[in-house]
Assembly symmetry: C2
Homo-oligomer: 308 residues x 2
């Protein structure tokens, strides 16, 4: 959402972060000037788009393999300015990333040697466990790269749950977060937010009360997503915190009211704090901005559906 991207920059963010090139293009169109895509961009079509995008914003990307670096190097050969590339490190989250500090060093050197590229630092998505191991990986990689005479301009990590202690990290100097804008049930469970910090709710209507203990909402997996992210149930009903959304069909939320003293009637509207705000945001074309009980306007989810 363009408004939230801009607001972060106004408040001091060095720039914004997009996972998809298509999302970054929407943000550049809106005037966002500094964009990081922490994702391996591969294939001639995307590389051509990346080069075009880099001509209208300060673009950085990441890479975790020589094949990816070589593709970027070919695409940016002769570019007006070199493309900053960070080396993505798998520090324990077991997703993308080079597997050792030595591999990080080697890839940094490869980037440094490529005429159209410039080495821009290290990047990771941190593991949920063993943050010390992750920190050790990054510190060692940084030292190995500096020992070869290269500067490590930044070390980038991320994730909302640990943002509050990001300043304690020995080498991380840049932090990528998104969920914090809204917060959600997962963040409350992680101790990173309180219920009153959760800004995104799905407004649902109780459409059926087939039994004393069962309510059906008109919000199913197409509104709340099937994302459990370790929670019990598919969201928290603000006014009925004891209610459990125990199952979702596509268009129905199945609610167990057996733990509730007060119970909603057919037609009652309820707000649901989703388990995971991010994929929920991705399901809607717009959000309605509300302050207290007053509707202040609507905002477009401008980059929704930019899957490429």
């Amino acid at each position: 959402m363009i408004e939230f991207a801009r607001r972060q920059v106004e408040l001091g963010a060095v720039g914004i972060c997009c996972q998809k090139l298509g999302e970054a293009e929407v943000m550049a169109d809106a005037g966002l000037a500094d964009i990081l895509i922490p994702f391996n961009l591969v294939g001639p079509a995307k590389l051509a788009r990346a080069r075009a995008l880099a001509e209208r914003c300060a673009l950085r990307v990441s890479a975790d393999d020589p094949v990816v670096v070589d593709g970027l190097a070919e695409a940016f050969a002769g570019a007006p300015r070199p493309l900053p590339v960070l080396v993505e490190c798998d520090t324990g989250a077991a997703r993308c990333g080079v597997q050792s500090p030595e591999a990080a060093r080697d890839l940094a050197l490869r980037i440094d040697r490529a005429p159209g590229l410039v080495f821009a630092g290290l990047l990771t998505y941190p593991p949920k466990k063993s943050p010390e191991k992750a920190a050790a990986f990054l510190s060692e990689a940084k030292a190995l790269i500096e020992a070869r005479g290269l500067r490590v301009p930044t070390v980038s990590s991320g994730g909302t749950p640990d943002m509050w202690r990001a300043h304690e990290h020995p080498v991380v100097r840049e932090y990528r977060v998104g969920t914090y804008i809204y917060n959600d049930r997962m963040q409350v469970a992680a101790g990173a937010a309180r219920w009153e910090d959760c800004a995104l709710t799905v407004l649902a209507t109780v459409v059926s009360r087939p039994t004393t203990d069962r309510a059906i909402l008109d919000a199913g997996s197409k509104a709340l997503t099937a994302d459990l992210v370790g929670q019990t149930g598919y969201g928290r009903i603000v006014d009925y915190p004891e209610a459990v959304i125990y199952a979702l069909s596509e268009e129905h939320g199945h609610v167990d009211l057996s733990g509730c003293a007060a119970r909603p009637a057919i037609g009652e509207k309820v707000r649901v704090i989703p388990n995971h705000a991010c994929p929920v945001s991705n399901l809607f074309d717009q959000i309605v901005a509300v302050r207290g009980q007053r509707v202040e306007g609507t905002l477009a989810v401008a980059a929704r559906g930019r899957v490429r």
Copy 2:
């Protein structure tokens, strides 16, 4: 999608079915003439829209509670033609629906008494288990209603997995299906389709190969959905059927290649048959129609995001 809705009618469907009023409005705009919304419509805003919609197509809806019937009756008082309303029955799926054949009879009588409404039959979403019990519920409800002198114009059931034996049902005369248009991994697991019957695939790119056994796709929960629907993994990679998509981040599919003899390289494009085609379709603004290796065009997912 308008084209598929039209095609079904061309091939003999009596009409189409939408879960959301907003979806039905898109289809009526496209000229679809017979639309069933098997969903309790509640609240003045939706009821006013339903009345407007009923003036430009043959609309039917369902209801499972006197409150819902009374709301429809009020909205359709004085309408040019009465609104056909089916009674939704909970025949074991434990979602919406009246809980007994007697309650179905009573609700049918209430609909029949309401000036703006006409009783249009019985409707259920069938349970996965005990189809005999479901059939007995519907048969008994039908008999009780007929014993009060009312005709039961139709009995509507649905679900792709059991469509092939819908003709064996003792009282069902109308069948609602959707997934069959594409089929998916869940339908293959249910024995209702073969892999070659699965028309919808997500075209993903292998963007990272961090280890010998791990590949990362650029398709995560925002492309494949977190819907497991009882499967192991989040989809089947057509050319690597032994690969397991064991986890999804929002933008990354995490693939275990340990069972694969051949393994994809970075940059390789793969097709993924999703677990559940329906919520996947809901994530994309358009689909690309392909015959063999030839792209024949794009089709808009016209009712995507019509959440109200």
